[in-house]
Amino acid sequence: MNDLVQVVLSGLVTGGIYALLAAGLTLIFQVSGVVNFAQGALAAVGAYTCWSLENQHGVALAPALAVTAAGLFLLGCLLQAVILRRLGGDLASSVIVTLGLLIVLEGGIGIVFGYSPPTTPLSLPLPDGQFNLGDWSLSLQELVLAALPIILLGALFLGLRYTRVGTAVRAVSQSARGARLVGIPVDRVRLAAWGVGAILAGAAGILIPSASTAPISPGMVEPYLLSAFTGAVLGGLDSLPGAAAGGWGLGILQNLVSYYTPTQVTSWGVGKDAVIFALLLAVLMARPTGIFGTAVQRRV
């Protein structure tokens, strides 16, 4: 039983990162209609910025995080204002542009910081030791890592529901035209959504090195990104809590599949990844708006 709890907990940790990425994706998608494929690159930018501030400029962790968050917010706004806004509502072009941005941003990190992982890690002050409850012995580090995305996203949901800005965001995601009619500055809301989306990505990027205990590198977010997409699609791209739930669910699901699949099956090419991609395809074909999204009836 302890094993199952452990599998779920580790899945929560990974799933939390997926949820952060998925939430940022969904927020941007709802408010500006763009699937931001560059979300992973933004996460890496966040990780490198924080790392650089701490290790190359001797800034303490808290101010480094604050500066990184502010920087990411500005970057997100910048991307929306300079690039995405000019494309109007052309969905397809937006997809391609964000792909281009993904390449440019990741390449940029490599050019500035080099591609080899730096020798000093990006580490967070996580507690050591175990948390014991009866039969279960769980790592405190993992518990904290699992809890952080819950706290962050919880704050996001509360903000969306109970603040004026949040209400404006929800209005715009339901209907931009309607929002404009009631006097909501839609353009500014879009900027804010991109900014917050970028911050969410950065949060994921900063958690990844601690979750995977591996050094940072420009492509470090890539393995997480596809699962985050799948989670967002599964949960529903037009439901923020749904997308986040999809992220968490997928993290746990991946671990369960990995744990219960016999090794023989993996050698046929059916590994955890194959299952995930097949799942993505299946969900998109059967119910594109995901489990929690509102079913859009588009008769073709």
Binding site: V95, V97, A274, F277
Partner: protein, 339 residues
Amino acid sequence: MNPSPNSLALARLGVWRPAAVAAAVAALACLPLISTTSFAVGFLDPAGTYAILALGLNLLIGGTGQFSLGHAGFFAIGAFTAGILSSNDAWPFWLAIPAAGVIAGLFGVALGLPTLRLIGPYFSMATLGFGLLVAEILGTASWAGGRTGITVNYPQAGSYTFDELSFFWVILGAAIITYFLVWNLRHGATGRAFVALRESDFAARACGVHLAGYRVLAFVISAVLAGIAGALFANWNGFLDASNSVTSSTFGLPASVAFVAMVVVGGLDSTFGSILGAVFISAVQYWLQDRPELAETLYGACIVAVLLWARGGLAGLPALTRAAWGNLPGRVHAGDAHG
């Protein structure tokens, strides 16, 4: 289809067109005679191969407006089919390559039918998932060479063995045939149906255009051409390995992005633009091969630049520069309708 300024120029060419085409083809055919093997492997062979893929992909993207992010999957299917048939079963290349196209086409049907109802980003993501799934399976399964890969011997026709240089003639021939097939398709009734779909599927159906049929057709043709391109790749590259599938620049997401870049940068509305786009991206990759990450960054930037400022891509440059020129004060252009 609104006649673009470029096709108006075409109409004016009249009798010169076949001569110009023949001259261009002859010039290209001379290239293997004066190039090095390295230039063939690094630029000529890929440019020709990807031109075929881009022509097909442009039918889908430029023609019907559906952005596929998984065409590296069909490319891989074609490559591995040809590779396995050639190395395991000793099929000659001129059988293996069409067979690869057929297999890829079957997968195109398998994927195209269920994704009929998907629009915009959902379609893109479904194709993305497909591409990654294919690469993942081909990278780990032992019948696909597992992590060792598949080595393909030089293609032979009778007693003549092609090498990387002479195989360019095969690629060139295939590309020319493909170009004319696709061009006729785009400019015929089918092509008009595609464009009608892109502009407004509702209106198209009202006019009797069978939406589902044409969508799947575009998808399958693009899959077949991608498969043939993959099979050609297997023959001149000589080695197939799909491990590191997600980040692989041959079969993974970067490859699919590069393919889309070729179509977009070349010009979405232009058949010839696909060739320009493939040549351009291949040139960038070849020129910056010491710094592949710079190459990727560069054409990522190109995608962004084209979508922002030069929608017609490379093929639209002449019209774009003429329009810009025409906007200078003091110039009057009668008959410059949309520019």
